[in-house]
């Protein structure tokens, strides 16, 4: 405990002694975590948008004309057995026409040209979030199309595919960027602590000759690295919060609908950035000090 307190004291003194190089390292880590945090935040928001949109996502199964009630029941039973389907809604020819008239509003006269109702009956199927995979839905709709009594199947294929590709792309980029930034943080601290180590090589040699253990020699340097990493994490996180607040306020001015959709990290995630900065810096410091030999 005394060794720890003394090491902490030494680390704080040394941080002050080498303040410029420490400030630079802290800012490097902060910028790295800001970039990574931005990507994670964008991915998070895209994922939430997908989930939000998924609530309204449906497949419309158009039925053939003059289908009997038994055939319609058979189809309904088939959809009920599908575990991906969370809601089934039958829309008769008349209901479809009514919906269309409501959509057209004052322009319903367009429909007066038709002698009989041209709209087919249909089933509207709502799917669960996990099922919103473009490949899975494509296979499902292909199977539904083969069923007796089904005329056509429609869904927002392109939209779903684009959003899914973008979210997946962002996740991959964030993952890769995360790895690169974590390595960069470790390297930044590695370089700083290596410089400190070489500057203090005489001091370290003296400590060794006076009977200092490896822990006594390493601990102040590790604590310096940890402190730099945590500070970088906190500052990076604050930068991100300011950037998010500024961006959302500007976006709301132009796109008021964005309000309430865009989110920041939940409070339980706040310690992640300082923790990530601290851990990576600790690894960098540990590698920089290397093995101490007597």
């Amino acid at each position: 405990m005394r060794t720890f307190l003394f090491s902490l004291q030494t680390a704080i003194k040394n941080l002050g002694r080498e303040k410029w190089i420490n400030i630079l390292t802290v800012l490097t880590i902060a910028v790295g975590l800001l970039i990574l945090g931005t990507f994670i935040l964008i991915t998070l928001n895209m994922d939430l948008t997908l989930k939000h949109w998924a609530k309204g996502f449906g497949i419309v199964v158009y039925l053939k004309e003059n289908l009997g009630p038994d055939e319609e029941n058979l189809l309904s039973e088939y959809f009920k057995k599908d575990t991906d389907v969370v809601e089934i809604k039958y829309i008769s020819k008349n209901s479809a026409l009514e919906e269309l008239k409501q959509t057209f509003g004052t322009m319903t006269s367009i429909l007066e040209g038709f002698e009989e109702n041209p709209l087919p009956p249909s089933f509207e199927l709502k799917l669960k979030r996990e099922a919103l995979d473009p490949v899975r839905i494509k296979q499902k709709t292909a199977r539904i199309k083969q069923l007796d009594g089904v005329e056509d199947v429609q869904y927002g294929e392109k939209w779903l595919s684009s959003l899914n590709t973008m979210t997946r792309g962002m996740k991959i980029i964030t993952g890769l960027l995360g790895s690169v930034i974590f390595i960069a943080i470790a390297f930044a601290t590695y370089s700083t602590i290596k410089i400190f180590f070489y500057r203090r090589i005489e001091e370290i040699e003296t400590l060794k000759l006076l009977g200092a253990t490896k822990t006594f020699i390493k601990l102040p340097l590790l604590l310096e690295g940890l402190f730099v990493g945590i500070s970088g994490g906190i500052i990076g996180f604050l930068f991100l919060f300011v950037l998010y607040s500024f961006t959302t306020s500007k976006m709301i001015e132009f796109l008021p609908s964005v309000k309430g959709i865009m989110v920041f990290f939940p409070p339980e995630m706040y310690p992640v950035a300082p923790l990530a900065g601290g851990v990576m810096s600790l690894i960098g410091s540990f590698l920089a000090i290397g093995k101490i030999k007597y």
Binding site: R2, T3, F6, R17, E202, E203, E205, T206, L207, K208, L209, L210, G211, A212, T213, K214, F216, K293, Y294
Partner: protein, 220 residues
């Protein structure tokens, strides 16, 4: 307390020490002497394990020095106070902090540290310089700080490498008296020096080395 048995040390096949055998009893004050390059410093380094012997066996206070594990070396060094030839004072620390560092390494309580440091500074006559930095002290004062640092943890063995190297005769006499006082308290002291005036007339054992080899043992 210190035993060397057929100890040899080589640097790139050059002999630094060859077949050295002697022992220093507990509570003894002895000298190692010889011209430059005789192997005095290497001998001391082998005793506090800054170097490892290539042949032979060294025992210090019961520790088989040559066979010590890396993790055990610091604990041997805590039993051996060293007055280094190049002082090895830390210039970013005050005199007080330089000496206190040893006790911090030993894990002493801060209050105890302060008391012990002032006590040892009083012994070497530098209590009034406690808050000065080493670079503001004279060579003799720096030497006394190094002795204080070596003594503060009350080691069982004290090694001194050319402790009066660049000092004027008056200061050298003060330093010599300090070593006698330390020895009188029961500490085993081994001093490496090429100044014969340091040991002549002392009646102490003197081990003579030349070109890394044992020459003779005399009484000073």
């Amino acid at each position: 307390m210190i035993q060397l048995s057929e100890v040899s040390k080589y640097y790139d096949n050059e002999i630094a020490l060859k077949d050295i055998t002697f022992s220093i009893e507990k509570g003894e004050l002895a000298y190692v002497t010889g011209p430059s390059g005789a192997g005095k410093t290497t001998l001391l380094k082998l005793i506090y394990r800054a170097e490892r012997p290539d042949e032979g066996r060294i025992s210090v206070a019961g520790w088989n020095v040559g066979e010590l594990k890396q993790s055990t070396i610091p604990y041997l060094r805590r039993h051996v106070g060293v007055v280094f030839q190049d002082f090895r004072l830390l210039f970013n620390m005050s005199v007080l902090d330089n000496i206190a560092l040893v006790l911090r390494i030993h894990g002493f309580h801060p209050r105890e540290i302060k008391e012990d440091v002032y006590e040892v500074l009083k012994d070497v006559g530098l209590k009034h310089k406690a808050h000065d930095f080493p670079q503001h002290l004279s060579g003799g004062e720096q030497q006394r700080v190094v002795i204080a640092r070596a003594m503060v943890s009350k080691p069982t063995v004290l090694l001194a490498d050319e402790p009066t190297g660049n000092l004027d005769p008056d200061t050298a006499a003060i330093i010599t008296k300090l070593f006698k006082d330390i020895n009188a308290r029961g500490t085993t002291v081994l001093i490496a020096t090429h100044h014969s005036e340091l040991f002549s007339g002392t009646g102490r054992r003197v081990i003579h080395l030349k070109n890394g080899e044992f020459v003779e043992e005399t009484t000073g």
